[in-house]
Amino acid sequence: MALRPYEVFDHTADVGIHAFGDTLPELFIHAAQGMESLMVAPEQVRESVSREIVVEGHDIISLLIAWLNELIFLFDTEYLLFCAFEIGVFAETSLRGRASGEPYDAQRHELSSAIKAVTWHEASVQRSDDGYRASIIFDI
């Protein structure tokens, strides 16, 4: 298990996260948790619904962006906030996973940001002796 799943960093107009993981699936799960945490504190989200997520990319970064963008799409169309993720099948250019959470409820969820999009600006996935590290900037 990576020491910390993710950390948030500043950008003039927007905000970014660094995510960490011992494996690529763990990295992707931590990136998703990091992104959702920008919208709402994870402890405010219950697991009442889940959605299967199947995405493809042309390399590891585009796959990570597609995975995160699918969560934004589900928020935009079904107002779903997620707190738990699993990844079943993982290949470098495709993945099949599941996200669990619940629809946004203005009474219980204190939103701190709404994310418009995942950007490609300085997006990276790097491997070191300590495992994997991803950087992603979001358009707020």
Binding site: V8, D10, H11, T12, A13, D14, V15, M39, H58, I61, S62, I65, A66, N69, I72, F73, D76, T77, Y79, Y104, A106, E110, L111, S112, S113, A114, K116, A117, V118, T119, W120, H121, E122, A123, I137, D139, I140
Partner: protein, 487 residues
């Protein structure tokens, strides 16, 4: 980032212009030109925006300069406040250079009310606007679209909205491109994008989007202000700032991904993946422009619906004194867009694709695309500042045609990150601070409000002074906020 020196070798051209020479990065095809005064340049140098101006200068087929307006700040790929023209024959279009919020823009409505006449009804008007304009996260739009309607919106833009009785035919005459960019093709748009758009037409969303009731605080140019119908100090006007919502975001995402996967095929080696681009003459490049036009048209329909909501709110509060017909649209401009336009470059007329990423078209008087009634004064340029201080109305000037591909700034420009802004003040404190300045606020999320605090932005007065003094646009009026409605 490309091969960059640590320090930007800025060369001062004059009081309002700074050049980034090509030697800064060997991959730059043209030099950079930044419009700023001594105060703004210091603020601009605090983030990575200058590197991004240099990065944009590496785009294939870029002509003139990679331009930066005085409200520039660090964006993704392009800086926000960046302008680049690429040659129509051998240049590229970069979907990231338009941005995620395709045709984010501003419209301004006039009323014949004076600030003194609405003082007793401010709260009522604020409540009415807040309930009429869906905003905030998860706020469904005013008009839930069927798939057939979605297609009509993509192709016809604001004209679809007028057909549906949201506003009047006259509104289209004073909307950039008459509220409909030609060449829109729904086949170029993914189903995913349409699904995101269908629920959101007629909604403000969140972030920096807003509706503001403002009063005219100062008039710089009486003749132009009269022509625009905003000629009286104390007069009430309304500004709407919004874009294409999730629909545009998804179109951008789809095409940045596509372009990014094709860079090697086109032989491009870009310094930032967000700059991924498509040759204008390629099928994919044409396809992006057709999809972008759909996004732009959705945004114009969106602002048309929101304006209808504003007119209804005024009618319900002030009755017969302010009917919808008594609230004419002054103008609507987009500030995230690419346009095919012609300019004289090195003595020859050339057709180029002008990317405006957080930058506003600013055509001068006598330009043939301007509506007849504004032809003598120039195209209105609407510059929102921040919610505490002021916003501005300018008109385009001749310098924009000679130097900046008919473009000037778009707003105040951020100077503080969202996190830093949140740390500096709470939502409650900010609402009290604004109330003390005579600004009434209605907001969905008090948590989000501090991100948009006035101190998070550059001083819009300094920004517009630069474009005025540099001859890109001319100051007409300064507007002071009275009511702010936000997500």
């Amino acid at each position: 980032m490309g091969k960059l020196d640590d320090k930007i070798p800025l060369e001062r051209v004059d009081s309002y212009r700074w050049r980034i020479p090509q030697r800064y990065n060997p991959e730059m095809r043209v030099s950079g030109m930044v419009y700023a005064d001594d105060v703004l340049i210091e603020q601009i140098l605090l983030d990575n925006a200058m590197h991004q101006v240099a990065n944009v200068a590496t785009l294939p087929g870029i002509v003139g300069h990679s331009l930066a307006m005085p409200d520039i700040h660090w964006g993704y790929g392009f800086p926000v406040g960046g302008v680049a023209a690429t040659h129509a024959e051998y240049g590229v279009v970069s979907p990231g250079g338009i941005g995620f919020d395709i045709n984010c823009g501003v419209r301004l409505l006039a009323t014949d009310l004076l600030h003194t006449q609405i003082r007793g009804k401010i709260d009522k008007l604020a409540d009415e606007l807040f309930s009429n304009l869906p905003s905030g996260v998860g706020g469904a739009g005013m008009h839930q679209l069927s798939m057939d309607e979605m297609h009509a919106v993509m192709v016809h833009g604001a004209a679809w909205a007028v057909e549906e009785s949201y506003g009047f035919a006259q509104d289209l005459e004073v909307t950039e491109e008459h509220g409909c960019l030609a060449g829109a093709d729904p086949d170029a748009v993914s189903n995913t994008a349409m699904q995101r758009g269908m629920k959101q037409l007629g909604s403000l969303g969140s972030g920096n989007h807003f509706c503001e009731v403002q009063t005219i605080e100062h008039i710089y140019d009486a003749e132009a202000a009269q022509a625009l119908g905003i000629g009286q100090v104390g007069q009430i006007v309304v500004t709407i700032h919004c874009g294409s919502r999730g629909f545009g975001h998804q179109i951008a995402e789809d095409y940045i991904r596509l372009a990014e996967s094709k860079q090697q095929d086109f032989g491009f080696h870009l310094v930032d993946r967000q700059l991924a681009c498509l040759p204008l003459q390629s099928n994919l490049g044409k396809s992006y422009l057709s999809a972008m036009a759909c996004g732009a048209n959705f945004a114009w329909a969106n602002r048309q619906l929101l304006m209808h909501g504003v007119r209804q709110a005024f009618a319900s509060v002030f009755g017969k004194r302010t009917r919808p017909k008594d609230m004419p649209l002054v103008y609507d401009v987009c500030h995230n867009i690419a346009k095919m336009e012609e300019y004289e470059i090195e003595g020859q007329m050339q057709r180029v694709c002008v990317h405006r990423k957080g930058a506003t078209r600013a055509f001068p008087a006598s330009h043939p695309v301007l509506p007849e009634k504004y032809r003598a004064i120039g195209q209105p340029v609407l510059i929102p500042g921040d919610m505490g201080r002021y916003s501005f109305v300018l008109v385009g000037a001749q310098g924009s045609m000679e130097e900046t591909f008919g473009t000037c700034c778009h707003g105040a420009g951020r100077r503080q990150s969202r996190t830093a802004a949140k740390k500096s003040i709470t939502g409650k404190e900010l609402i009290e601070q604004l109330a003390a300045r005579g600004v009434t606020v209605r907001v969905h999320s008090k948590n989000l409000l501090p991100e948009e605090a006035p101190q998070a932005y550059k001083d819009a007065q300094q920004v517009v002074n630069v474009v005025h003094n540099a001859g890109l646009a001319k100051l007409v009026a300064r507007l002071k906020p009275v009511i702010v409605v936000k997500g």
